[in-house]
Symmetry: C2
Subunit: 435 residues, 2 copies
Amino acid sequence: MEHYNWLLSLCVILMSTKIFSIISRRAQLPQVVGALMAGLFFGPAVLGAITLHSFGTQFCLMPSELLNRLAELGVIVIMFTAGMETNLDELKASGKVGFVVAMSGVLVPLGMGMGLMYIFDDNVTFASAIFVGAVLTATSVSITVETLKELGKMSTKAGNTILAAALIDDILGLICLTVITGIAGGDVNITIVFMKIICFFVFIAVVGYIYHKYMVWSDEIQAQRNLRRYPVMGFAFCLFMAWASEALFGVADIIGAFAAGMIIAMAPKGQYIASKFETMAYLLLTPIFFANIGLGVTLPKMSLNLVLFTLALVIVSVFSKLGGCGIGARLCGFSNQQSYQVGLGMVCRGEVALIVAEKGMEMNLISEQYLGPIIIMIIVCTIITPIVLKGAFKGQEDVAGDTMFEDKFMLEEQTDEIEEDIFRRRLLLSTRTQE
Amino acid sequence: MEHYNWLLSLCVILMSTKIFSIISRRAQLPQVVGALMAGLFFGPAVLGAITLHSFGTQFCLMPSELLNRLAELGVIVIMFTAGMETNLDELKASGKVGFVVAMSGVLVPLGMGMGLMYIFDDNVTFASAIFVGAVLTATSVSITVETLKELGKMSTKAGNTILAAALIDDILGLICLTVITGIAGGDVNITIVFMKIICFFVFIAVVGYIYHKYMVWSDEIQAQRNLRRYPVMGFAFCLFMAWASEALFGVADIIGAFAAGMIIAMAPKGQYIASKFETMAYLLLTPIFFANIGLGVTLPKMSLNLVLFTLALVIVSVFSKLGGCGIGARLCGFSNQQSYQVGLGMVCRGEVALIVAEKGMEMNLISEQYLGPIIIMIIVCTIITPIVLKGAFKGQEDVAGDTMFEDKFMLEEQTDEIEEDIFRRRLLLSTRTQE
C-alpha cells in the first residue's frame, strides 16, 4: 500500500493548492499565496504539528525525492516561460527611467538585506549575507501587474514605469544570482569565476545565434505539418541549457532555462512553442513547486530570535523597495505622489524570491530556519501591496483599465471555448467513420 | 556536476524519442516504435553494450527512481486520456459483432500465450503464465486506426468491425488485468479477491454517479470564468482513483485512471478537461514512459532459449490474433476475405501490452528477461501489420478515406494556428499598456 502513496500525495497537493488558490483569489490575493498556504497547511508546520500534538504521530505530506525533482522541473519551466515572455525590444524601449528605478530598487534591498544578516546571524559569511540580500531584490512582475490591472491603473505614468522597472529588475536579479552562485560555488579564484560567467554569456550568445539561424533555415525549407516537434525540441533545448549552466559554467540552472526561453521566443515558431507550456505548468509542475516550498517549513522550530528576524525582514523588505524605487523615480523627475506609487508597486515579492531562497538552501548558504521568515515576508508583501496601492491611487481618474481587464477575460473565455470545440471536432473526426 | 545529470537525461530522452519517432514516421511506422527504439539505443542494450565493449565502462542512460515515477505517471495519464476518449454509447451501438470478434480475439491469444509459457519456462506458475497471455490480448486501438486511415479503409465493413472490436478488446483486456492482479496480489482467498473486484466496480459506479451529479449541479450554479480549476481537479480525481484502486481494492492503478477518464468524459466540462491533457502527455510524460521501457532492456543477456522464445512469441502473437478474430468474424457471417482483413487489423500491439508487461514485472510475475522478447514482438507486429494489410485490402475501392485524413490534418493545422494566434493576443494584451 505504501508503494502507491505518492499518487495520493500528488492528488492532495493538486487539490489543496487549487482550493487554497481559489480562496485566496476570493480574498483578492494573488494565487501564489494560496498555493504556499496549502503546502504550509498539509506539511509539518500545521497538520504535522496538530497530529503530533493530538495523536503522538505526524500525519502530513513530506517533501520526497520525487516531489523535490518535480519542483525543480517546475521552477525550470516557470523560468523558461518567463524567458519566453520577456521581450528584448520592449526592454530597450522602456529606457532610462525604468533602468534607474530598477537599479536603485535592487541595490537598496540588497544592501539592507545584507545588513540585516550581519545584525542577526552570528555565523554570517559574506556569501550567505549577499544571498539573503538577493532574495529581497526581485519584484514579482506577475503579482505587480495583476494588482495594477485589478486597480485599473496600468496605463498611468507610474504604472508604465513599474512594469518596465519590474522587468529589468528581474534580469538584474538574475545577473546578481549568476555572480553570487559563481562566487559561492566552491571556486576560490574570483578571476576564474568571472571568466566562467563571461564564457557563459558568450555561450548563450553563440547558442542563441545558432538556434536562431537554424530555425530560420528550418522554417523556410520544412512543411508546416507535424508542429509537435517544436515544443518537444524546445523543451529539450531548455533542459540542455539548464544542465549546461550548472555543469559547464557553475551558473544556476534557472538562468540557463530563462536564457533558453528568450532565445526561443525570438526565433521563428517561438510564439507557438511558448503557447504550449502553460497547461503543463498549471496542471502539474507549478502547484508542486509552490506546495513543496510550503512543505519544507517547520514553524515549531522558531526561536524568539527568529521571530524578531522575521519582523525585521518584513519591515526591511517593504521599506527597502519602497525607498529604493521611490528615490530612483524621484531622481528621474517624478512627483512625490508618483514616486510613492512606483515604490509601493514594486514591493510585491513572489516566485523569484522563493527560487533564490531555494537555490541558497541547496548550496548551504541559507540556513533552513530562514525559509519560514522568507515565506512570511512574501505573504505579507503580497497581502499589503494591493491594499496600500488602492489608497495611493485614490482620486486619480481611471484610464480604461477596467475595459482592458474585461478584454482579457473575454479573450480567455473565447480561447477556452475554441479549444473545447477543437477537441470535440477532433474526437468526432476520429470516430465519425463508425457511422 | 552529477547532481544535475538528470536534466541532461531528460533532455536526451525528449530529443531522442522525438528524432526516432520522426524517423519511424518517415518509414511509415507508428511513432511508438521510434520511441521504444530510442530507449533501446540509449540504454544498456545498445549504447551501454558498445561503450562497455570499447571503453570498458558503460556510458548510457539508466532507469532511475525519477524516470520510473514519471513513467508511472505517464502511463496513468495515457490510460486517463484513453478513458476520456472511450464513448460508452458508441460501444453499445457497435453491438454483437464487435463483441464476438473481441471476445474470441482475447481468449485465443490468452490461451496460446499461457501454453507458450508452459512449454518454455520450467519455473512457470499459473499466475505468471496467465500474465504473459494477458500481454498478448490487447490490440492497440491507436495503431490499428492510424494504419487503416493511412490505407483509406476506415469506412469498410471490416474497418468498422476492427474499430469496434479494438475498443471492446481494450476493456476486456483491462477486466482481465483487474482479475489477474487481484488473484496474484497476494490474497490467497479467491472469494475475497472477487468480492474486492465487485466492490471496486460498485465503488466506480457510486463515485461516478456522485461526480456526475456534482458537475451538473456546479455547472448550473457557477459562472463560466476560471475554467482552469476543472482540469486540475480532474487530474486530482484521476490520481485519487488510481491510488484508491491499488490501495483499497488491490486493482491496478491504471484501471482506476481509465475509469476516472470515462467518468469525467461523460459529465459536464468533460470535453474541456480532456482537451487539456494532450500537451502535457506529449511534452513530458509519454516520451519518458516509452523510453524508460526501452532503457530497461538488456539484450546481451539473451540465451538461445530466449531467442527461441522470442521467435515463438512473435509467431503466436500474430497467428493467435489473426485466427481468434478471424474466426469470430467468420462466425458472424463475414466472407473469408473480410474475416482475414479483420484478423489482420487486430494484430497490432502497443502501449497496453507494454503496460501489462510492466505491471507483471512490478508484481514479480513476469521475469525481466521476457521484456526484450515482448518489445521485439510489439515492434514486429506493428511493422508487419501495415505492410500485410495493404495487400489484404488490394482491389477494394476507396471509401473517401483519404479526404478524411486530409480533413484531420487540415483541422490540426488550423488548431495550431489558432492556438498560436491566441497566445500572441494574450501576450499583446498583457503588454499593450506600455505603449
